[in-house]
Amino acid sequence: MKRIAGENNEQRIIFLTVVSVLFLCFGLLLDRPSGIVAGLWNIIREPDYLITDYFVIGGVGAAFVNSGLLMLAFTVLLGTIRTDVHGLSFAAVFTIAGFSFFGKNIANVWFIVAGVWLYAQVQREPFVKFLYVALFGTALSPMVSQIMFGLKGPFVFRLAAGGAVGVAMGFVLPPLSTAMLSFHKGYNLYNIGFTAGLTGTVAISIYRSFGFIPQSRVIWSTGVDPMVAGFLVILFSGIFLSGYGMEHRSFRGLREIWSLPGRLLTDFVDLVGVGPTLMNMGINGLIFLTYLLVIGGDLNGPTIGGLLSIVGFSAIGKTAKNTLPVLFGVILGGMTTSWGLQDPPVQLAALFCTTLAPVAGSFGWIAGAVAGYLHSSVVLHVGILHAGFNLYNNGFAGGLVAAFLVPLIEAFARRRNL
């Protein structure tokens, strides 16, 4: 009665490959090859802590190529180590693709992966068991870039120090990420974000003790490029239509996905199938893209990163049903507090607040809206702890909100039916 692991594995790898190639081609379409190369070099050399928009640093074309290359590299990694591709794999690869628009690049992610690999060797376990910690753990990549390109001193020393810190960060992530799950009980989907926030806070405290004072900054391009918007509409619609076609034009599986609360770990691909999952991914991408356009937000590296993370996590927890109440909470926050929905950190909060989707999925839309409202304030004030070196700052804030809110809700809410 078990579903077979790895069923249609090739099809899933092909899907990820096609999306990567689309990103690469679109990037190459936007700029000359020499411009792309120069842009990629700028991206690599830039300290990447929050918020660093690669549209500004390297240009739109180079940002898409950087994202496509990383997506392709990690898809090849999935294929090479012959692991089965699950919804979790979609989430990890899309999240990497997203954050490759504002912090992860083809040079800085590998040290974290190497650290997790080293941990696996020390534990005498296969790397595949820690694969997803490695993939999501690349959230700490800016720390590598900061030491390599943000500090002064001989380049060889900076290269070695940056690499060593990256490996050390990757090395401590597996045991920490597992332990942190019990803090928020799986109600914060970006668990590595919470873990990386904690790790980054400790690391930055040490940095500060040695006199390094990180400057906060916001490098953020404004406006909406119609070509980029059109590309994303076609991409998300294409993902939806692929799933719709695979399901023989039926919405039955999608309804089943929407009935699930989405708490970690709810793998829609394993539980319901690839077709409905792709439909869910496409729909959520379109909903949140529409939201950005309606509020007059910006379509740049960070917001595209947010959209791709939503699309990815729509394979393991996010649905329209459980994300919209949380978004509503953030909008409510915008109407009642001192910040506006178009402020850059708030645009990001509106996208990444969906990390708390399981709260709405498990306890209803009011709980979800309260979570979103709290998140919108918390996320604006916790980044200072890790100085923006944890790219998943919303995952950090989401973990705090979930840990604070869920025990209270559980104490008074009616239990969900089995």
Partner: protein, 115 residues
Amino acid sequence: MKHHGLLLSRLTGELVAWCLTGGATDVDATIRRLPKAWEIFVSAVFPEGSRPAVERLSRLLSSPRSAGTDEYYWNLYGSDDAVFQLGLVGAMTDEADVRFDEETGRLTIRLLRAD
């Protein structure tokens, strides 16, 4: 895996908690070592009208084994009794057999986790 004993006990505990929250009585759980696997056996008597919940359980346990979840997500078991981790139980076991006798209300779950 370093915490294998803890994982097995929590995985079994997740199923036992699910049964008790669903109103089951006379719940029994056994964990047994087989030559190349661990067998988990849970038996419980459920009140009338439990078939939809059992069907849902069966669907969630049919989730295929996922190697990348063991080390990372095992700590989620037992953390919550509002939403259970049945899909994760499925992802960490190689075989699942769920049987339900509607007349007696007896549910039996047999899981195998290969080495």
